[in-house]
């Protein structure tokens, strides 16, 4: 692959926002072949091949180096790579797809406002309930790394792939790690964010893979793309 392969979200809101953001920088993305196909091009950038992939798979493609560049959320990149800093470079924050990955506990836990408080209550919780407090999340790696950095280890993760905010009320977890934009869903589920519980302020970014095979042609294409996206006119 001497040309540059750019992975873009293949569906949903993230796809629309990517297309809009590119358009504002004067970059027109077009599908190649049938409208249902998964390949595309950028008008005026003949050395760029666009691959439409689902956004969670974009992180995997960047990780393995099967694409040069990709547009996806920082949360997905950091979650899927324990060594994100060596595998990918964030080239340009794109100003959409904003989401904070946060630790949230029931609002009725009036005695808990920080991760340190969680560490203080988990022993007593275990004595009463005969298990460690459970954290429902789809961000297992981000959660583990964040709590390890804070010196909190007495909890158990339960993987949750949907309706995570509902798990404390349903009794299947005690607290959650999830994304939020306005905090509205958390409030509706009687949850509150810990004062030091923001794990990551995420947004969509143009990432480059360090693992991919970079030809001079691909590097030129990346620099051109980066310059355009940095400076919308």
């Amino acid at each position: 692959m001497s040309r540059l392969t750019l992975a873009m979200p293949s569906k949903g809101r993230l796809m629309e926002q990517t297309t809009e953001r590119f358009a504002r920088s004067g970059l027109v993305v077009r599908k190649v072949g049938t409208d249902r196909g998964y390949r595309g091009e950028i008008v005026g950038m003949p050395t760029v091949d666009v691959a439409f992939i689902s956004s969670s798979e974009i992180a995997a493609a960047l990780k393995s180096g099967s694409v040069h560049c990709g547009i996806t959320g920082e949360d997905l990149v950091r979650e899927s790579m324990s060594d994100a800093a060596t595998r990918v470079i964030a080239l340009a924050p794109l100003g959409f797809g904003h989401a904070d990955v946060v630790v949230a506990v029931p609002a009725c836990w009036i005695d808990v406002t920080t991760v340190n408080d969680l560490a203080e209550i988990s022993g007593a919780f275990r004595r009463v309930h005969r298990r460690w407090p459970r954290v429902a999340t789809k961000y297992m790696n981000l959660t583990r790394r964040f709590f390890a950095d804070k010196g909190f280890g007495d909890y158990r993760i339960v993987e949750s792939l949907g309706a995570t905010e509902g798990t404390p009320a349903a009794g299947t977890a005690e607290l959650i790690v999830d994304i939020t934009t306005t905090g509205e869903t958390l409030r509706a589920n009687s949850l509150k964010i810990l004062a030091d519980g923001v794990i990551l302020k995420s947004q969509a970014n143009l990432f480059a893979s360090n693992i991919a095979a970079w030809t001079p042609e691909a590097i030129n294409a990346r620099e051109a793309l980066q310059a355009r996206l940095h400076d919308p006119d």
Binding site: S82, D83, P106, A107, C108, W109, I110, D111, V112, T113, T114, D117, A119, E120, I121, G123, A124, F125, V128, H129, W132, P133, M140, T143, R144, R145, F147, A148, G151, G153, D154, Y155, R156, I157, P168, A169, G171, E174, N189, S190, L191, A195
Partner: protein
């Protein structure tokens, strides 16, 4: 991805036979616990940090399993499967594969898959006697295998707890400092907080409610909390009870109103935590630190001295032994005495052998009573590498 476990499999097996012969002769029964283990016991004993270093997976039935990262937990489970919670003492030994994810990438010294040979002694109440015998057995085994040059690093988490007791720290702070001691960085911050932080640190908590709580009247405290939640329009959600919240709030309140830890005691604890050096002189240093305590260091140091004397009597060269108060606090599930055997020059590759006392593990593995246990294991690939290197240095 690595395609073979070791390029010197036959040499490893020959070495393992020598190690096992030493263990068997000391009355340890050879066992082969299962390679695939329930992740639960490990997660309970070690916590979620396990996932960072272990191959945890879900089987087609949805059960969460792991490839054993050591043979200690599997041996504990084997013992319980055989005896239930009956306090039947046992001595086991093993030689088999263990698996660890290497976040920095696997190499010769840090393989994903390695062979461990070790011993576990379960249900033996003779504390420092059993500890000294396990250390001696491990050292003897690596010497029989051919290792000449080694050093022995020791630590004792139980001694730290004894020191907190000897300096008469309130039970609440003993528990908190004990927990903090296991987390690098957290311990000195906590010590500083207890001795220096001004009162009124928790302005983030509802002060009026806090002051209205009465430790002697749980019903009134409960009503105060419910009233507070009602007024704020906060719904009671989840499994955690208001009783648990009140208990925590009361401990916060007790801290807010208590006297600070006096600077002399804080200094003593800090100086103890800094003790590190030859094991023969560490006891005297600890005694000197605690000399002004009412009643003196007492039984805690007697145990230290007795263990060291037992090691000397067993023929361990004490000039090779060091003690560090902080050593062992990041090692998984140990609760008391801990040790590591290293080969000088290969230290960066990690220890050749290690072990210690793990009195909480049998309960985590399913026993319904506390059962004392102590053990040690040898990283056989590292041992072989150290012996091979020794031989190369001696060769003309």
């Amino acid at each position: 991805m690595t395609t073979e476990v070791s390029q010197s499999f036959e040499a490893l097996e020959a070495q393992a036979q020598k190690l096992m012969a030493v263990f068997l002769k000391a009355g340890h029964e050879a066992v082969a616990p299962a390679v695939i283990q329930p992740a639960d016991v490990y997660l309970d004993a070690i916590g979620e940090s396990l996932r960072a270093r272990t191959y945890v997976f879900t089987d087609p039935d949805g059960a969460e399993l792991c490839l054993r990262p050591d043979l200690t937990v599997p041996t504990c489970r084997l013992h319980i499967a055989r005896n239930g919670s009956a306090p039947k003492p046992a001595r086991y030994c093993y030689n088999g594969p263990a698996f660890r994810f290497q976040p920095q990438g696997a190499d010769e010294a840090h393989p994903r898959e390695f062979r461990q040979a070790g011993v576990e002694r379960i249900g033996d109440p003779s504390r420092e006697v059993a500890e000294a015998e396990i250390v001696t057995l491990i050292v003897k085994a690596v010497e029989v295998a051919g290792l000449r040059d080694w050093t022995l690093q020791t630590g004792d988490l139980g001694l730290f707890r004894s020191v907190l007791n000897v300096v008469r720290l309130p039970a609440r702070w003993q528990k908190r400092l004990g927990d903090a001691f296991l987390k690098p960085g957290a311990f000195r911050a906590e010590l500083k907080r207890l001795s220096q932080a001004p009162r009124g640190q928790r302005s983030d908590l509802p002060q009026e409610l806090l002051r209205s709580l009465d430790p002697g009247d749980p019903a009134a405290s409960e009503a105060a909390v419910m009233n507070f939640l009602d007024t704020k329009g906060i719904e009671l959600v989840g499994n955690r009870t208001t009783g648990e919240m009140i208990e925590h709030l009361l401990s916060v309140l007790a801290d807010e109103t208590a006297d600070r830890l006096d600077p002399e005691t804080a200094l003593m604890i800090d100086r103890y935590a800094s003790v590190s050096g030859p094991a023969r002189t560490a006891g005297d240093r600890i005694a000197a630190i605690l000399k002004d305590v009412k009643g003196g260091p007492g039984a805690a140091l007697d145990v230290y001295d007795r263990r060291l004397a037992l090691l000397a009597n067993a023929g361990i060269d004490l000039s090779r032994v060091t003690f560090s108060a902080e050593f062992g606090r990041t090692l998984a599930y140990y609760t008391g005495f801990v040790f590591e055997v290293s080969a000088p020059g290969l230290r960066a590759d990690g220890p050749i052998a290690g072990g210690g006392r793990y009195d909480g593990l049998m309960r985590a593995a399913g026993a319904n009573v506390d059962i004392p246990a102590v053990g040690g294991a040898i990283h056989t690939q590292r041992l072989l590498a150290a012996i091979t290197r020794d031989a190369a240095l001696v060769a003309p």
